[in-house]
Amino acid sequence: MFELLGIPPQVLMGQLLLGLINGSFYAVLSLGLAVIFGLLNIINFSHGAQYMLGGFVAWMLLTYFGIGYWWALILAPLVVGATGLVLERLALSKLYHLDHLYGLLLTFGVALIIQGLFRNYYGISGQPYQIPEILSGGQNLGFMFLPNYRAWVVVASVIVCFGTWFMIEKTRLGAYLRAATENPVLVGAFGINVPRMIMLTYAFGVGLAGFAGVLAAPIYSVNPNMGADLIIVVFAVVVIGGMGSIMGAILTGYGLGVIEGLTRVFYPEGSAVVIFVIMAIVLMIKPEGLFGRGA
């Protein structure tokens, strides 16, 4: 068996798998951002707060209504998506004719308000949320102990990511969407309600963040700041993948998860910055991102 820089292969395999699991979160979150940016040209800075909302809605459903994980997985993204709907109608839709910066500032402000409200009400320590019974425990793979829930996270994220990609790139609905961003007036002339489509797209992107939040609830602490730390990394992922590229966001999400995982073995102190270093390099060599279609 090979041994790389003094790291035994079973440890390496374990870390690769873990990287893939973390990459799943990056992928789902950056996918949501890419959908929103690609189709609406909005840089959605409240994505982290909406991810947090997903976790909290799952927790609320359980605590106040006794509704468990599986229903939360469907309901929480819908609820979070609905808040996105309201935000788009009341505020974002007024900004489409202005520079990107206005949307960014608005969503950033919204994120601060949402996080502040939750912090004020629920405190910072977080709320407990247990792994569903059926997914507790794990498998011994020989080189590592793989918790069933983490395996589920990878499966769920792969399904959602590729489902979304398929819908946008390969279906008629996706074609309408892409057409509407190219030329909203023309698409409107064909009798398609463009503002409604854009509104639903934003809600969908936001719903994806909520979905990631529910996935994260049982393994990370459900607290008001859970998205604030993550969102910066996810933006870096989107920039590396190429703003607006759906497949780019998915693949870079998984890829960077793996790279970050490996950094944690070889140089743990650097694991917080490795993604940003890669981002800087990519921006220097290929400013439109690895999968970008050019500006």
């Binding site: 910072i124 320590s125 407990p128 918790p147």
Partner: protein, 400 residues
């Protein structure tokens, strides 16, 4: 009402002939802590409430003290904390600053308090530097420090037979200090440190570090981190079957707010050291239930420390008859206390407060009778043993 009390005290003063009590003494206390970040639950608004309770329980008004309490958020940033402290001393007439979690901020504020004639009554920070390397005559470090935590948890676990340690350490000053303190205790107790890994602060995913710890073959994984990092690490350790496979976890700094967030399902069996637990005796229960009425949560040891420190400070101001920082600190150091929350203790010449520490174990869900019924007491660590001995450079007794 105010006037009649003031007249009353004046009359009493005139009868007894004391000179001071004729005028009220203005005392301004500033509670400076994290009100929005990682440490907001263990300090935050709760500490302000604790300080207010101290003023009320002390009957400050009747004793001729006119106490005002200010509060501010230092955002865990030394520059922000320093600016607020400076402004408080210069413009708001603050006499003492309370709480100040986050060691880097606490050290900066300790220095400013010393320069500007204020007193730092620290409850929230953990660094031993406050009363060792960077001690100051006006610093009083009330609740805990990393050495006491290491002593409590490190020694108890090593002596119980689990003597191979691996450390998971937050990569900043506090984590390093906690790691080093605990390593010393472990090695003194005959244990061995087989390795350590430093994780970025703050971190969300610990699985990778936990796996490295698992592969090390250690008996115990020492978590030299705090707040959300500790919570996430413990949650994930249970998920990855670390505890089931025979390794145990030692949370070197953990507050009841963290344990509450984890719930006993995940945290059961964890051993940790604290200076205070609400359910220790009638007095702690009584105070804690009054606190809970106002704050919707049981107090942490940091909240309790703010209360007791404020009490002891007000006693000294009353006795001295002024807020002169040298005289007040001298009085605080010269007089031991018997406190409802911390029991008997005293302020050592270097400003380290010596009181008992306790080793707790988190209850199993079946044994927990309520949301906050979380700890079982395993051992008492006498104050003299728990804290580091005084170093000569920090012996301020001659200057008092």
């Amino acid at each position: 009402m105010m006037r009649s009390i003031a007249l009353g005290t004046a009359a009493v003063a005139a009868l007894t002939g004391t000179a001071y009590a004729q005028e009220t003494i203005d005392v301004t206390l500033g509670v400076l802590n994290d009100r929005s970040g990682t440490y907001a639950d263990l300090s935050g608004e709760g500490s302000v409430i604790a300080a207010r309770m101290a003023v009320e329980d002390f009957n400050a008004e009747e004793k001729g003290l006119n106490v005002e309490i200010l509060s501010a958020d230092h955002q865990n940033k030394p520059d922000v904390g320093s600016n607020i402290a400076r402004q408080w001393y210069e413009q708001e007439g603050v006499d003492a600053i309370l709480d100040v979690p986050t060691s880097s901020v606490a050290l900066a504020v300790a220095d400013i308090s010393n320069q500007m004639g204020g007193v730092l009554l620290n409850s929230g920070a953990g660094s031993t530097e406050l009363t060792q390397g960077q001690c100051a005559p006006t610093t009083i470090h009330w609740t805990y420090d990393t050495a006491a935590l290491a002593k409590g948890t490190g020694q108890a676990i090593t002596e119980a037979g689990a003597d191979k340690w691996y450390f998971l350490t937050a990569d900043y000053a506090f984590g390093h200090s906690l790691e080093e303190n605990t390593m010393n205790v472990v090695e003194e107790a005959g244990g061995e440190v087989v390795g350590s890994v430093r994780h970025p602060f703050p971190a969300t995913d610990f699985s990778s570090f936990l796996l490295q710890a698992q592969a090390s073959g250690a008996d115990v994984i020492g978590l030299a981190n705090a707040g959300g990092d500790t919570v996430n690490a413990i949650k994930q350790a249970s998920e990855f079957g670390i505890t089931q496979s025979g390794q145990s976890l030692a949370a070197l700094l953990m507050f009841i707010s963290d344990v509450h967030a984890l719930s006993p399902e995940t945290a059961q069996g964890l051993q940790l050291t604290e200076a205070f637990y609400w359910d220790q005796n009638d007095e702690t229960r009584e105070w804690s239930s009054r606190f809970e009425e106002r704050h919707n949560a049981k107090p942490t040891m940091v909240h309790a420390g703010v209360y007791s420190a404020a009490m002891h400070y007000l006693r000294a101001v009353e006795a001295v008859g002024s807020t002169n920082n040298e005289e007040v600190v001298a009085h605080m150091k010269a007089n031991s206390f018997d406190d409802p929350l911390f029991g008997e203790g005293y302020v050592r010449a270097d400003g380290r407060v010596i009181h008992d520490m306790y080793l707790f174990e988190v209850k199993a869900p079946a044994d927990s009778e309520g949301e906050w019924d979380l700890y079982e007491q395993k051992a008492v660590i006498a104050g003299e043993e728990a804290f580091l001995p005084m170093i000569d450079e920090c012996d301020f007794s001659s200057e008092g």
